[in-house]
Subunit: 286 residues, 2 copies
């Protein structure tokens, strides 16, 4: 069995996630060779010039010589690229992805040829900025790095995927894909939808009063931060985790309606108890 | 007319807002004398020992010698203290507050004796931490500092209130109280209710899956930050701005429902346009 140190790693997509991965693996000298696959000629020139990758191409064929192929494109692109990678990858290659939802991706991986060794992954980190220019070798530091093995995933693939996470300074966590998707709907996709809905509501207010954004302060800034996330990435996430996201939105909407109702009927003691529970749990968490 | 430099300023309430105000006025040597009024004996001892105030008391009577009295307590407390301050303050004294909602406060100020000179204020800054220990001389720096004069407010009171804002490094903005309350419902109170509802929803998920908070990352942290705000302060705010808050919650809930509906029917193009509008306006704003 090859160690990560002896492995050639092909990274498909060199945006925020893939770019940060390439920077971190390069900085730690964690693998034998990095290959970069991206359609962006400017990014290809940059990673080659900086010596981050041994080779770069717009073509998936470059991944043919890799021991580990990591898909770091938006979720719907990953779904399209999995069968393409299946025809390119050499026997025994580990096929991994960094997609933010896992159930549909695991399903697509299930259909890969038997000589390939797939495993799902989702590092719990990110920024509202995107593209290689936003990439950061420390992005993965201390992040939970979820691994969602398939039944067919070999112990070797699992061990190497864990080595990748550890090389990045992240904490590998093995989780079932269905369970992963339910959890991230609540703590990642729901916060995004709230940020986007808040921004949309404020825009509506700003249409009739030009002072609205003059008064916006740090609370508004932080609560809306995720609304600036890459639209393509978020669209793919929402559409590949539909049931969970819709049900999380409904759960949260019920709580909002409860709150509005308590405010409306001036029920100070019920509202105080409700707000205090939320405040205490937030203070315990961070 | 006295300048701020020649004025004695009494601050009622030395928590995050009043404490930061005292620290800033003291650091800039902006007024003749600061008097601190707080029920907290520990805070009184601290501000006296550090020479921030000339005198400190638990009793509003201390404000009798002040030229400017600034109420920096939670909104419902301000409403109770306004008539008490009315019996204590000397003729010509400027009565100002830092409450987060303005309509009910302006209404209470209207009933003050004619020899007093009231004006409402709301500095658009804060933190989710609270109490004098969280106070920070730079809290007001660059913040919008809303002033809501009454019809009876004298030009002197308005000028001195503007001097206070400028001394703190803030930007004074004159605004009608009704308009202020409508705006802050959208850009301040709504973000808080969303943060609290998100925290409540996540707690619900965490009840049935102990991995939920293991996967929570910076997006969840930032979007829930306001949920940790002081409950008494937020309760007062929500209850003194009921109609506006409830209507902002309803507007935002409608947008959430729209989003859930687009996700549910897989309407990628409508959803993309919707998310892109929110993303672009967020990126333009900060």
């Amino acid at each position: 069995m090859k160690s990560l140190q002896d492995s050639t790693v092909a990274i498909i997509g060199l945006g925020l996630m893939g770019g940060s991965l390439a920077l971190a693996l390069h900085a730690k000298n964690a693998c034998r060779k990095i290959l970069g696959i991206t359609r962006n000629p400017h990014t290809r020139a940059q990673v080659l010039a900086r010596g981050i990758v041994a080779n770069a191409s717009a073509d998936l064929d470059l991944a043919a010589e890799a021991d580990i192929i990591i898909l770091a494109t938006p979720t719907q692109t990953i779904l399209k690229q999995i069968p393409q990678v299946g025809t390119v990858a050499r026997a025994g290659a580990i096929i991994m992805d960094l997609g933010s939802t896992k159930r549909e991706i695991i399903c697509a991986m299930q259909a890969l040829p038997a000589h390939l060794d797939p495993i799902g992954a989702h590092p719990m980190c990110g920024k509202e900025t995107f593209g290689f220019d936003a990439a950061d070798a420390n992005l993965y530091h201390n992040a939970a790095f979820v691994l969602t093995p398939l039944e067919r995933t070999s112990p070797t693939a699992l061990a190497l995927a864990q080595s990748v996470a550890i090389a990045l300074g992240a904490r590998p966590i093995i989780l079932d894909a269905v369970r992963h998707d339910r959890i991230v709907a609540a703590i990642s996709h729901l916060p995004f939808t709230l940020a986007a809905a808040l921004m949309t509501t404020a825009n509506e207010f700003a249409c009739t009063d030009e002072m609205v954004y003059t008064l916006a302060a740090s609370g508004f800034r932080d609560t809306t931060r995720l609304a600036a996330s890459d639209t393509t990435m978020m669209l793919d996430i929402l559409l590949t985790n539909r049931e969970n996201v819709v049900s999380a939105i409904h759960a949260c909407s019920r709580h909002l309606a409860e709150m509005a109702e308590m405010i409306d009927r001036r029920d100070a003691s019920a509202l105080r108890a409700w707000l205090e529970r939320a405040a205490i749990s937030r203070r315990q968490l961070f």
